[in-house]
């Protein structure tokens, strides 16, 4: 029934329209008298479709404005009654006009058309409301899906799910039953008001039944209903309202959380207002969406458990290797000494044949200690205990020494080791002992795999990074730029199959790959070589042809490259404006600079205070960072005991600390932290 409200001054006109309209059975007509405020209240309560108002009605403009400003009447049509040719200032406020003298037909047709307009507007309004609701749900769904992908934490995923449902479906109660990482059931209850104990129990049993139902064909965990862990979250704890057992008769939505065959739990929502079809779609979308990251989370959990186990095993293995190696070295010492005494005939003369055999024993002792040394190196590399002593050093003399060292062995096989140094080699920043180890490994390999009368070429040169074919390098661990010393070791030995090349750097590869091994060694040399090259920010390349020979090319960065580090350092950005001290502890000086650069921890322009560098006892840092030292701020280089005092006296922005310095770097950092907090 259409509703009409009349606002007329003259009773005659009002009565006439009233009785005329009432004769039309499909209309409800109302008029009012009294104070304006009362009339306005009546109008708002009545919710008219059309309001007829006479120009000249008391405070006509005010009344129209008041009606329009109330959201209840936003679609209500206002028709203004005017005298013929009459005009008024607020005509634009009305939705339609009727002129006196009154014509019934005009009145009826005008009313009919405005009823239609009102209905259309109402429908439009409803549709709009639904649309914006759907849009909101969609938005939440979209946000939720990106939140889901952001975490692999199971309980967080459930929290996100519940939050999304709360936003989109405004439920009164949600009950979720899942298994935690230990496989025990957990019942999560989110309610607006405090639920009664009976309700909690009922919902719990209902969830368990649902859960079992989902798994009807499979063996399911035995639920001890009394002992299920319950997590409750009540939104309005202060309200007096309590959800009783009857709440269970609210409209509800239920879904299992599963993907494919994998089942995670059940979720059920209750709401006093019935759920709409869109709500169901939304609900299903969320439960479906959460299942995928849950599966990933489960896999991730399994993987990290396995990883932890593996790490522990790896550590045990390394420790074992290290201990065994120590224990082997001690008894080897007197054996070696005794042989030496006998061989030198200090304990009496021996026959040439005996000398021959004793020499054989001695050679093998040396071989054995070499193997032990390799095993130890490997275990140190794996546990990160390989401590390199970097210095500016000259590689040329090392290469010449190397040639001499292998001369005797090479002569035995009549192999010629040629050393060619194309340009004068600049200095590198390295642990020279380790660099010697790298090339000693490569040359001794070359000797092993080259037949008698062969040739081994050792060739050194300087190259620019652009001359290095990065694709040929074996798994490079540091960026390639600047100038490098290129040293190649080539032989014309048995060569390596192309597919085997990446494998030769694996541990014990020689043992694995050949049953017909007659070349000695345990296959650790190249593994260690690769690691040592990595530690020096270098790279290695292997070129080989079966039965023709192999070339191993080692690239080592020049000390000059370090200047590039410095420059990058000064351009780095900082995000910590308010950080007084940035702690960086690094084992290796090389890595330190790299890390600073990578983590963009340094913005030198912003550092106004002093820099303190603890470098233990060495001054090696300053080889790296002279630029910092003569910049606008001061840098200290001191031992830990002193720098604690320095910190007390001055605030500082950055502390670089070596972990293995005289006093443990860790302790110093602890002290520092306490100091800065205080």
């Amino acid at each position: 029934m259409n509703k009409v409200f009349l606002l007329f001054n003259a009773d005659s006109a009002k009565n006439r329209i009233n009785s005329f309209l009432l004769s039309k059975s499909e209309m409800e007509v109302m008029s009012a008298q009294g104070k304006i405020e009362d009339i306005l209240i009546q109008i708002n309560n009545f919710c008219a479709d059309v309001i007829l108002i006479e120009n000249g009605y008391e405070n006509c403009e005010f009344v129209i404005r008041q009606i329009k400003s109330n959201s209840k009447n936003q679609n209500t049509q206002i028709i203004l009654f005017l005298n013929k040719h009459e005009q008024c200032s607020f005509m634009n406020l009305a939705d339609g006009f009727i002129e006196y003298p009154l014509n019934d037909d005009i009145l009826v047709s005008t009313l009919e058309s405005h009823f239609k307009i009102k209905k259309s507007l109402d429908r439009l309004y409803e549709n709009n409301k639904e649309l914006s609701r759907s849009l909101y749900q969609l938005n939440v769904l979209y946000n939720t899906s990106s939140q889901f992908t952001g975490t692999l934490n199971t309980s967080k995923l459930y929290d996100i799910m519940i939050e999304a449902m709360e936003k989109t479906l405004s439920f009164d109660i949600s009950s979720v039953l899942i298994l935690n990482s230990e496989g025990n059931p957990v019942f999560n209850l989110n309610t607006i008001h405090t639920p009664s104990d009976n309700l909690v129990n009922a919902l719990k049993i209902r969830s368990v039944l649902n859960f079992k139902n989902e798994l009807k064909n499979e063996s399911h965990p035995v639920f001890d209903i009394e002992n299920i862990e319950i997590k409750q979250n009540i939104k309005q704890t202060r309200s007096n309202k309590v959800f009783g057992i009857d709440t269970i008769s609210y409209d509800s939505l239920y879904a299992p959380i599963k993907i494919g065959d994998e089942f995670f739990g059940v979720v059920e929502l209750f709401r006093q207002n019935p759920f709409l079809p869109e709500d169901v779609t939304c609900f299903q979308a969320i439960t479906h969406q959460v299942a995928l990251p849950l599966r990933s989370a489960k896999l991730y959990e399994e993987i990290s458990k396995t990883n932890k186990k593996l790490e522990k095993l790896e550590k045990l293995k390394s420790e074992f290797v290290s201990i065994v190696s120590h224990e082997l070295r001690t008894p080897l010492t007197p054996i070696n000494n005794s042989l030496e005494i006998v061989l030198s005939e200090q304990a009496g003369t021996i026959s040439d044949e005996a000398k021959n055999f004793i020499s054989m024993a001695k050679r093998n002792i040396q071989r054995l200690s070499g193997i032990i040394e390799d095993l130890l190196d490997l275990s140190r590399i794996q546990t990160g205990k390989l401590d390199l002593k970097y210095k500016i050093c000259d590689i040329t003399s090392s290469l010449e020494l190397l040639q001499k060292t292998f001369l005797q062995v090479a002569n035995e096989k009549n192999i010629n080791i040629k050393l060619e140094i194309k340009k004068k080699l600049p200095e590198i920043y390295a642990d020279i002992r380790r660099i010697e180890q790298i090339f000693s490994n490569l040359v001794s390999n070359a000797l092993k795999f080259t037949p008698n009368n062969g040739v081994i070429d050792v060739c050194a040169d300087i190259v620019d990074s652009s001359e290095i074919n990065v694709e040929n390098l074996i798994s490079v661990s540091s960026p390639i730029f600047g100038n490098y010393i290129k040293i190649s070791v080539s032989d014309n030995g048995i060569g390596i199959k192309k597919e085997d090349i990446p494998k030769i750097f694996d541990k014990f590869s020689q043992i694995e790959s050949s049953l017909k091994r007659n070349n000695g060694g345990v296959g650790l040399g190249l593994t260690i070589t690769k690691q040592l090259i990595d530690s020096h920010l270098g790279a290695i390349e292997v070129i080989s042809q079966e039965s023709k020979g192999s070339t191993f090319v080692v690239y080592l960065p020049l000390a000059d490259n370090l200047k590039v580090f410095e420059m990058d350092l000064s351009h780095a950005l900082i995000s910590h404006d308010d950080v007084g001290i940035i702690k960086i502890i690094s084992k290796k000086e090389f890595n330190l600079i790299e890390k600073l650069k990578e983590n963009k921890l340094l913005n030198l322009s912003k550092l106004s205070k002093e820099l303190i560098f603890d470098i233990g006892e060495s001054e090696e840092y300053f080889v790296f960072i002279p630029k910092i030292s003569y910049s606008s701020f001061e840098a200290y280089c001191c031992a830990i005991e002193d720098y604690i005092d320095k910190i007390k006296q001055n605030e500082c922005d950055i502390i670089l600390s070596k972990m293995h310095s005289a006093k443990d770097g860790f302790d110093a950092v602890k002290i520092m932290t306490i100091l800065t907090k205080g």
């Binding site: 120590h326 070295r329 080897l332 007197p334 000494n337 140190r380």
Partner: protein
């Protein structure tokens, strides 16, 4: 004749080492644990000490530090013998103040070279 004190709980190492050093014309005094080594070092005032790291009672680091931080003995050169390569860092220049170290198993010529650096 130069006096060398050898301290190591591995009797075989001490025996072979002293045999070889004697042949090279050194006088060798031997100790088989840390305590004995320390008291001998203080009583006989040797020209050089060869010291094992891992020993019962007092370990090599400690003996080394005790001697090096005592004005009376700090000038006695100390060569440490180690089976643990990680220890190398601790021995030289850092806490102990030892002058040299040798890793097991060692060649006699290596030991001799280091001794001659101080006693030649």
């Amino acid at each position: 004749m130069k006096k060398i004190l050898i301290v190591d709980d591995e009797k075989d190492i001490v025996e072979t080492l002293s045999f070889m050093l004697k042949a090279k014309g050194f006088e060798c005094i031997c100790a088989y644990d840390g305590e004995e080594g320390l008291s001998l070092a203080k009583s006989i005032n040797p020209d050089l000490v060869i010291l094992d790291v891992m020993m019962p009672k007092i370990n090599g680091y400690k003996i080394c530090r005790l001697l090096k931080f005592d004005n009376k003995y700090k000038d006695i050169p100390i060569i440490m013998i180690t089976a643990r390569s990680q220890d190398e860092d601790k021995i030289i220049g850092e806490e102990t103040g030892a002058d040299e170290y040798i890793t097991k198993p060692f060649e006699f010529s290596e030991v001799l070279e280091k001794i001659n650096k101080y006693l030649a």
